[in-house]
Structures are given as C-alpha cells and as structure tokens.
C-alpha cells in the first residue's frame, strides 16, 4: 500500500507542478480581452471538475470496501481466531501471548493502562503492516492475518512521553 500511495502522490504533485509551470511559461504575453479567455477557462474547469469526480469518486468508494473496522477483514485466513490482549503502559507493551500462527486470523484487543499509545505492527523489513490506537477506557480490536512467518515488531505509534521511541516489543509468527 505504501509504495502505491507514494507513487500516486508523486504523479499528482507532478501534474499540479506541470499546470503551474505551463501557466508561468505562458504568462509573459498579455491577452487584453479577458472575457473569451475566462469563458474557455471555465469550460476547461468544468471538464477538470468532472474528470476529478470520475477518477477519484470511484477510488473514494472502492477504498471504503475493505475497512479495518470490519469483522470480515480477517476472513482471509483459516482456522480459529487467535486472540491476543495487548495493553500499553508508559513505556512498554504487555501481550497475553508472544507468538501466533501464520495464515490464521489474529484478533488483537488493544487498550492502554495510562495514556494514548499506538499499536503498530512492523514486519521483518520494518514496514508497517497494521495499526490501531491504544486508548485508556477503550478496547480497539485489530484483526490481521499474518501471511508470512517471522519476527514482527510492535512499535508505539502515538506520542506518550519521554521514552515513546523505546516502547517496542516483538511477536513471533510461526508457520503452521
């Protein structure tokens, strides 16, 4: 997901840059009568608007089809749900188990004993694969099925005080 977000952002930012550069390059020679220019620019703007609607409207809806809040999310795996209770403390994680099986859905029940924390799961390449906030008084259920075995890190994703950056633990994902 991250490379896609990066590439789309770069493409869109570059398109915006081209638009501004095109106008800057064509700003030197004045066309005195602004009205016809305005009319053609308004026509182009209408097309631009509908172009944005046509491109980003479906993208906006499509990306709503697989929300992390939905219980259906972990159905990709097979077998019984593995429940892990995760509690954040300043500045450590307490997990009810330190290993889970790959390919089998996991339900992290995440909360905090003190302040806001963020429960972020990183793979062996240090890429974030899933996260939720850890809040006092609330339990956020994070459903994830690990496709690959290995050692994953849990990092804190919400600033929680002076040792926030040290608030890490590990969870082992073992092959079935």
């Amino acid at each position: 997901m991250q490379p896609i977000a990066w590439q789309i952002s770069l493409v869109l930012m570059t398109l915006v840059a081209f638009g501004f550069a095109f106008v800057a390059i064509n700003s030197g020679r004045r066309q005195d009568d602004y009205t016809p220019l305005q009319k053609s620019a308004y026509r182009l703007r209408t097309r631009l608007f509908w172009g944005l609607v046509l491109v980003f409207g479906p993208a906006m809806i499509y990306t709503l089809l697989d929300l992390p809040y939905d219980a259906a999310r972990a159905r990709a795996g097979s077998g019984a749900v593995q429940v892990v209770d995760a509690t954040g403390y300043q500045w450590r994680w307490e997990l009810s188990r330190d290993h889970v099986a790959a390919g089998q859905p996991v339900e992290f029940r995440v909360t905090s004993a003190d302040v806001n924390h963020g429960f972020g799961i990183y793979d062996a390449n240090l890429h974030l694969v899933a996260q939720t906030q850890a809040m006092p008084g609330y339990t956020n259920t994070l459903r994830h099925t690990f496709a690959e075995a290995g050692t994953y890190k849990v990092l804190c994703m919400e600033y929680c005080g002076v040792a926030h950056h040290n608030m890490m633990t590990e969870i082992r994902v073992v092959a079935q």
Binding site: S27, T63, D114, T132, Y159, G161
Partner: protein, 495 residues
C-alpha cells in the same frame, strides 16, 4: 451571470499593528525552524541532545509554529479586511499582547518546567508524566494555550461585529443571496467571504478548544472530574484541525488581493467561488474524524465521513483557488517579482500538499501510514510551501520600494533555493513515511537515519533562504507603512 471587470485598488501601507504581527511571526518562525532542524539533526545522529530535550523542542516547535501561523495569517486578513469593514485596532493589538503572554507561559512551562507533552496535549498525557514534569508545568502550558485562544476569540468576535455592521449578517457576508439566487455581481469581495468563513469556523473551533483545555485544567487538580479520553481527543482534533487550516484560509487573502493588482484582472466572488467557500466552511468543521481513523472505537459513520470529506475538501483548493490563480496569470503579461512569485508558488504548495494529505485520509492508506513521517510530509508541504510562502509574498509586497523596483540577484537565488529545498525537505519526510518511519521519535532506528540526514541538509537550506526573506523584510520595514503603488503594471498586449 454577472460579468466582471478589473477595478484598480490602491496599495495601502500596513498599520503598525500588522507590522508587529509580521515581525513577531518572522522572528518566531526562524527560531522554530532552528528547533525543527535540531530535531532532524538529533534523528540524523549528528548531534546528541537527549530525548527529554528533543521532546521539549518538539513541543515548542509544534505550539510555536501553529501560533505564528495564526498570527501571520491574522495579519494578512486584518490588513486587507480593514479596507472593507471597520475593525478595532485595540482588539487587534490586545490579541498580540495576549499571544505574547501565552508564549511566555508556554516557554516557562517547557524551558523551566520541562513540560513535553506535545502541542496536541492529548488527554491524559499532560497529567501523567511519570515524574518528568509537574502538574504546574502542564497547567502553565495549557493555560498559555488558553490565553492565546482567548486573544484570537476576541479578534474574531471583533471581526464578526465589523462584518455584521457592514453586511447585516453572515449569510450576506458569505454571498448566499448571490449563491442561492440571482448573481447580480454584488457579492462581497473574496477577502470578506474568506474572513467570514474563517470567523465562523474559528469561533466554533476556539470555543471547543477552550472547553477541553478548561476541562483538562480542572482534571489536573481534581482527578475526580473525569474526562472521556476519546471525547477529549475528538475535541482537540476538532479545534486543532480548524485552527491550523484557518491560517491558510486567512493567508490566501494575500493571493486574492495582490495577484489581481499584478495582472490587472479581477478575482471576483462569482457563484463557483461562493459555493466553494460555503462548502469549505462546512467541510473544515466536519473533516476532523480523519485524525481519528485509527480509533476504531469512534463511531464508524463519522470515520467514513472523515474519509469522504477528505476527498471533497481537495476540490475547492484545486478547482477554485489554485485554478483561479492560473486563470488570472495565464497570458496576463504579469511582471514577476519576489511578491508575485512567492504568492504563485504558495498556491502550488497548497495544491501539491493536498495530494498526499487526501491520500492519507483514505482509511486503508491511513491504516499503514498514520503517525508515520508521511503526516509531517504533507502538512509541511502545504504550510511551508503554501501558507508560509503566502506570508513571505505579503512581506515582499509590503516592502517593495516602488512598483518598478527590480529584485536583487540574491533574492532571486533565495526564491529558487527555498522552492527546491522545501520540496527536498518535504519529500524526505514523505519518503520516510513510505518507508514506515514512525513520527515523533527522538531516536531513530539505524535503517531510518539516512533519510533524516537528507532531510536535515534540506532543512538547513530552507532556513538559509528564509533568513534572507526575513532579513529583507526587516530591512524594508520602514517602507511598509506608506501608501504607494507597489504592484507593477502588466506588460501591454503585443500586436
């Protein structure tokens, strides 16, 4: 549909209060930039200041930048709005005095009391420091924010009074008769429409912000006065999102007012313009759940609403304001100088920064990018290359010696240095976000350090170019008060 022609508007000099606002903003901006650089250098492992000092600087950097963005934006808005409505200079100065009082409280809290709970002061962190700071230090910090908020509330109430006195009510100030009825070409000018929008949203945002600050202050000393952390988070982000976004909506008034003077083309409040500002008024208030997308306990419909409004909110920026600037500049014969270049650049920065921002507001993206460096990546793009560039453009406009004066070579070099270095700086953040580098970490994992080093080098260049801009402003501050033509006349059409 009404037709519009350009009417010449004289270039007014700035009141002393506006210059005091700008001088305060410029000085604090440079200091906060240095604090930001120190943070990047620490992450790059080129200096060693320690985690507690890092988080103190982070707290000051956040609060300071948000504060001076608001002060600078307010100075732009007040300078141009007073040409249409009768504003109180005393209230304007009172806001600055309260701001400075709040700054002193915040500095005392952080530098003496060692408070480092971040500018977002998420409940219950200020009251749960694990012995790192006292409740008094937390109270001083939140009290400082409260004092600053009261000042801005006063300013906006005065603006509301002046707008109502001139236009009768906010519906007229937002151009609703022309938006929903016949466009007779008599809608209020863009400056009034934008100021009305900012006043509406900031009054509501500030009241919510002051409420949660007061609740948390009570809770510090009366723990039995319990607060729901999720409610507190929602209130903080509601206030924070509105307040920081309003700084751009205030500063963009410089673009609406100054670019037409350079192009001798009108930027009028037509139906599309009015519709976009009314839509933005609503969207800026209801978009805040996109800060809470990883709080699964928050009502799902509100999270989906944050996702959808994140997409919709991009449309007015791109299609109305960004496109509007392109329209009036295209084949205008504009004579480029530092002011016009910075203002044009600022709309690019705003529009370009909105791209990674709305992508981050997509729930499935946010799931793997929330609170990574992707977030400072996008907000530094539209604030530094957008909002701050608007303010620099305004400063150059005020200090321009005369309408035919040429820019010095060093200023022209600084413009391109600023553009390139801000892009390098923000792209280093965005790339770090793509690589999942967590946000707000005093110490980075070894794998992340190379990106920090690249970012730190670009940050130094950003500071160098900003130093030149600010130095030029201070060297010309005597000119800024006088009324004379600043904007050069566009080149005539050639046969």
């Amino acid at each position: 549909m009404a037709t519009y022609t350009y009417e010449h508007t004289p270039d007014h000099g700035a009141k002393a209060g506006v210059l005091a606002y700008l001088a305060t903003s410029a000085a604090v901006l440079l200091l906060m930039m240095v604090f930001g650089l120190l943070m990047r250098l620490e992450q790059a492992q080129w200096i060693s200041i320690g985690a507690d000092r890092f988080y103190e600087l982070m707290t000051l950097h956040g609060a300071g930048m948000v504060g001076i963005a608001a002060i600078a934006g307010a100075s732009v808005m007040w300078h141009f709005l007073r040409q249409y409505v009768d504003l109180s200079s005393r209230i304007f100065i009172a806001n600055l005095v309260l701001f400075l009082a709040g700054v002193v409280m915040i500095l005392g809290s952080v530098l003496i009391g060692h408070f480092h709970g971040a500018w977002t002061f998420l409940f219950p962190l200020p009251g749960k420091s694990m012995g790192m700071w006292s409740p008094g230090a937390a109270a001083l910090f939140m009290g400082g924010l409260l004092v600053i908020g009261v000042g801005f509330l006063l300013l906006h109430l005065d603006i509301a009074r002046a707008i109502v006195a001139r236009y009768g009510n906010f519906a007229r100030a937002l151009g609703w008769p022309q938006l929903f009825g016949h466009d007779d070409g008599k809608a209020p000018p863009p400056t009034v429409v934008a100021s009305a929008m900012v006043t509406v949203v900031n009054v509501i945002g500030l009241v919510v912000g002051a409420s949660i600050l007061t609740m948390m202050l009570v809770n510090l000393y009366v723990p039995g006065f319990d607060i729901d952390p999720l409610l507190a988070k929602g209130m903080i982000y509601f206030f924070g999102h509105i307040f920081i976004n309003a700084t751009i909506y205030m500063a963009v008034i410089a673009v609406y007012e100054i670019l037409p003077r350079y192009t001798q083309r009108p930027w009028k409040s037509n139906k599309v313009f009015l519709a976009s500002w009314t839509a933005s008024t609503l969207m800026v208030m209801f978009i805040f759940p996109h800060h809470l997308l990883m709080d699964f306990a928050f009502p799902k419909w509100m999270l989906v609403m944050g996702h959808i409004i994140g997409y919709l909110n991009t449309v007015p920026i791109l299609v109305v304001t960004g496109y509007g600037a392109l329209m009036i500049v295209y084949r205008s014969g504009i004579r480029w100088d530092m002011a016009s270049k910075l203002l044009f650049l600022s709309l690019f920065g705003w529009a370009a920064g909105a791209m990674p921002a709305f992508i981050d507001g997509t729930i499935t993206v946010n799931y793997v990018m929330h609170n990574t460096l992707w977030v400072p990546g996008h907000f530094h793009t539209y604030l530094l290359l957008g909002m701050v560039a608007m303010v620099f453009g305004f400063m150059y406009y005020l200090g321009k010696p005369d309408h035919e004066a040429d820019d010095r070579l060093i200023d022209r070099i600084a413009f391109w240095l600023f553009t390139a270095s801000v892009l390098g700086f923000t792209l280093s953040f965005l790339y770090s976000g793509k690589e999942s580098v967590a946000r707000r970490y005093a110490a980075h994992l070894p794998e992340w350090v190379p990106y920090d080093r690249i970012g730190a080098v670009f940050a130094m260049l950003v500071i160098a170019s900003s130093l030149l801009f600010v130095g030029r402003f201070f060297s010309r501050i005597g000119l800024a008060r006088h009324d004379y033509q600043r904007a050069p006349v566009a080149r005539p059409a050639t046969a």
